[in-house]
Symmetry: C3
Subunit: 369 residues, 3 copies
């Protein structure tokens, strides 16, 4: 159960204060990381039919995701091309065929084409086709919808980097969202990622988790260009992470014995954290709102057949992770508070925090590019 | 009813994001525009008698307006000349003959002269006449009181630029304030001005207004050095803007037939917006509080004879403009939100937004001076 | 009773706006003054036994004060040496023998030594003795505990500069804290100091104080390198400052007749203000939280024999100073508001504000060093 790690050296230190506290570095990270990579934006089941939309904030960007007449998902900047007015105001909803700006009624089709711009016929050189909504790249995997705000998005397959194959057995697009909870952390987004990628803190912070899965059972995959992750073993007799002794769900169909004995913790960088248990998934969608503020939406994903069963009840899994989330968010807030203070000095990582060292380096490499 | 405008060209674009979001540009605008020009500060009827005062905030300035012993309006920085303490704390009130600082009791006459500075007789070279309240220029027109925070205020007549003659028939100093409502917008002050100077948004945003006055009836005057404005025609059978089918007010005395058929919308830049209806006025006093925050006070002005009538009721006009204001402020907030976001790109003005093009240029010309 | 002061000259002016409003100057003051000098942090009786701790914020620093196994007071940055997590979360409390970080359970002895760092044995070059809590200098006088955040703290005796001798008769370590109240001011810390060091404002702002002690009876000591102060005489028949005509306390033992006739107001710079009355003390602990925000904790200190008396009641002294505090804090807030405004110009000090002139110069001398 105890997975060994190579010895490390005391010279591997946590980053300087600026890494977590400097607004200028944060701006550079937005450009080099968040606005250059693919961002997890929504579960596809949030956009069930033609005209369904969600709006999603990423730092100072706001994306409008909408399902068009052909059933295709489209993403746009949520801004009218006329005078820059914010277009859709609700976090989710449904428009009837067209998107109309509330200011001067410029009207767009669901594929972003400008359908009607009142009184622009008196403007020489104006052509509606020159003013579609500013489109944003969209891609989908396993029911997760991603957007990329870059002018030249990297190929999505390159971003996925084989995770679709690795997690094929989980049949993620068969999962539906049974609960969604929003949290706001007073912590830099990288502290949330760091918290996610080591379980050294589990015995002290998460006794309920440590009882079910030993904190030294973490088996890390080496850092990848777009993702990082590990799996941890469930203790003998334990079938999943839950507040219940007999969790009321069957394992996901298609998992082999080894997959049923582990929980997988993967970050598809920079903003999706994904926990895969034998019988359900938990996804964390992050928004790096400010250098010291991160918004996290946690989603509980369960198999559609399970959800359809009479008496379906997910509260054991919801309670388990809600409790664990609160513990983690408090620690992340305390880390931000301490690192922000005058007394902070970089400290030594243990060899069980090897993924954090790799992540720090990954961030710095992005910034120097 | 439909007033034609010259064709425009698609190259006339809304300004870049900085124009509405950059704190440095905002500071330059304060210096070059707000603190160089005359600012609307109060209706004279707010200061009815000797000792009446109001305090008014303009960005980081605070002005104390007071009526002195001779009945003359005086304006000062609301700051004690001793140690800089804020002098008057209420937004309006009445002082009994003298203005006394609550800190060390330095006492000023209503004309600003320092009357008493305790224990300063032991200070060599101290002469009370060297420390009057710092005065601010005051001027008055039609019951509107203006201040100018510049060290060399432009002549007020030059500022008025003939508006007194143009609107003489309305006898504005016969109007009294029957209602005053304060609003705070999360929008740059220029977006409020822009919203005011086009009615393209009226059909979609103000159906109640558009029923009474056609949005294409706007007849713009060309942009002037200190003001800009237009008039719009009332539809046949409509006598004013009101929620009532039979508004309970006579027209203002002295208006000719043409004046009774129009509503006039004028901005005396940078902070007074003035709607003149056949039977009442509405004034908007703005404070550009921050790059993305504007405080607006809306005042309803009616003829004194009307107000004196038994059963006088202004609620039809108050309700009409309060409703319209809320619609406009929401749009201005949405414009600020959209322009602030990463997705904003300058967009094309229509030829019915010609005053906005002129206003953008006016601002830029002020800044390069 | 009226203590004369030398004549002054009108050229002695209050500082320019930046002195109180510029965040950059504030940062320089933190470095040159607050983080270079000794700061009042706690009364020793807040840390009665082994493991007792308090946490104290000074701008962006947070200090953990704890009484170790040997009964010695220790101070540390309240930050774990591992990943920088804030260590202790309560403002006061008691730890059982060891200080443990809630994140990864790094555990420190009360003297700051790192006792246990889990899984660091796999880290080459790691030695627990290299990672004690970052210590902060501590000193004590008269029951007041001070810390110094400088890497090379000045000798504490040099800081005290004889105040221990001057106030020996008050036997300050016999006093216990009977009340503690926290206030937050929207004012620069130097305005609080300035307010404290003149009584010109007393007739207008503190009538209840001026009835007991004449505002012109202030007898200033010349400005010292680390402190400044004055004493004021009680009026005939008045025995202390109190809301009661017959304050229910004996004078402190050991005071002579002259000491019993005065109240002493001393600032041990930069953050302790100390009022010594014949029968009790009041201490103000300041935190310069931001350029325009100061947190003040006011403590009422009375003799332990008095406190032990049946029916002991301190409300007369508590009410008196709470009322006076509110008056002073409001004036300090108004001073900040006025000085922040565009209308502020430096104004002339009277000769009864000589300590303020000296304090302004003291600050500037610290900054140019």
């Amino acid at each position: 159960m105890f997975v060994e790690r190579p010895r490390s050296h005391v010279s591997a230190l946590t980053p300087p204060r600026e890494h977590f506290c400097d607004p200028a570095q944060f701006r550079r990270e937005l450009e080099a990381i968040h606005f250059s990579m693919w961002l997890y934006a929504a579960r596809a089941d949030e956009l069930p039919s033609v005209g369904s939309f969600v709006t999603r904030r990423f730092a100072d960007a706001e994306v409008l995701l909408v399902r068009d007449e052909a059933g295709v998902l489209r993403a746009f900047h949520n801004v009218c091309r006329h005078r820059g007015t914010r277009l859709c105001h609700d976090e989710a909803g449904r428009v009837a065929g067209l998107i109309q700006c509330r200011y001067h009624a410029w009207t767009y089709r669901l594929d972003g084409r400008l359908e009607k711009a009142f009184h622009m016929e008196e403007v020489e050189g104006f052509r509606a086709e020159d003013f579609p909504l500013a489109s944003v790249a969209v891609a989908e995997w396993g029911g997760f919808v991603f957007v990329c705000l870059s002018a030249s998005p990297p190929p999505f397959a390159e971003h996925l980097a084989g995770l679709d194959v690795k997690f094929a057995a989980w049949q993620l697009d068969e999962l539906v969202t049974v609960e969604r909870r929003a949290y706001t952390l007073k912590a830099n987004w990288k502290l949330v990622v760091a918290n996610y990628h080591e379980c050294l803190h589990c015995p002290v912070a998460h006794p309920q988790l440590n009882r079910l899965s030993h904190y030294l059972s973490g088996d890390n995959e080496p850092m990848q260009p777009t993702y990082m992750g590990a799996r941890m073993e469930l203790k003998p007799g334990v079938t999943t992470l839950s507040t219940s002794m007999s969790p009321p769900r069957s394992p996901l169909p298609g998992l082999n014995d080894e997959q049923r004995r582990h929980v997988y913790y993967y970050a598809l960088l920079p903003n999706l954290l994904l926990n895969l248990h034998p019988d359900y998934g938990v996804a964390f969608r992050m928004n790096a709102a400010a250098v010291d503020r991160t918004e996290v939406v946690c989603e509980w994903l369960m198999h559609r057949d399970e959800v359809a069963r009479p008496g379906f009840d997910a509260s054991d899994a919801i309670d388990f992770w809600h409790q664990t989330n609160l513990q983690d968010w408090e620690l992340s807030d305390l880390a931000q508070a301490g690192i922000s203070s005058r007394g902070y000095r970089p400290g030594p990582y243990s060899n069980r925090e090897d993924l954090l060292v790799a992540f720090d380096e990954w961030v710095l490499a992005k910034l120097v590019r």
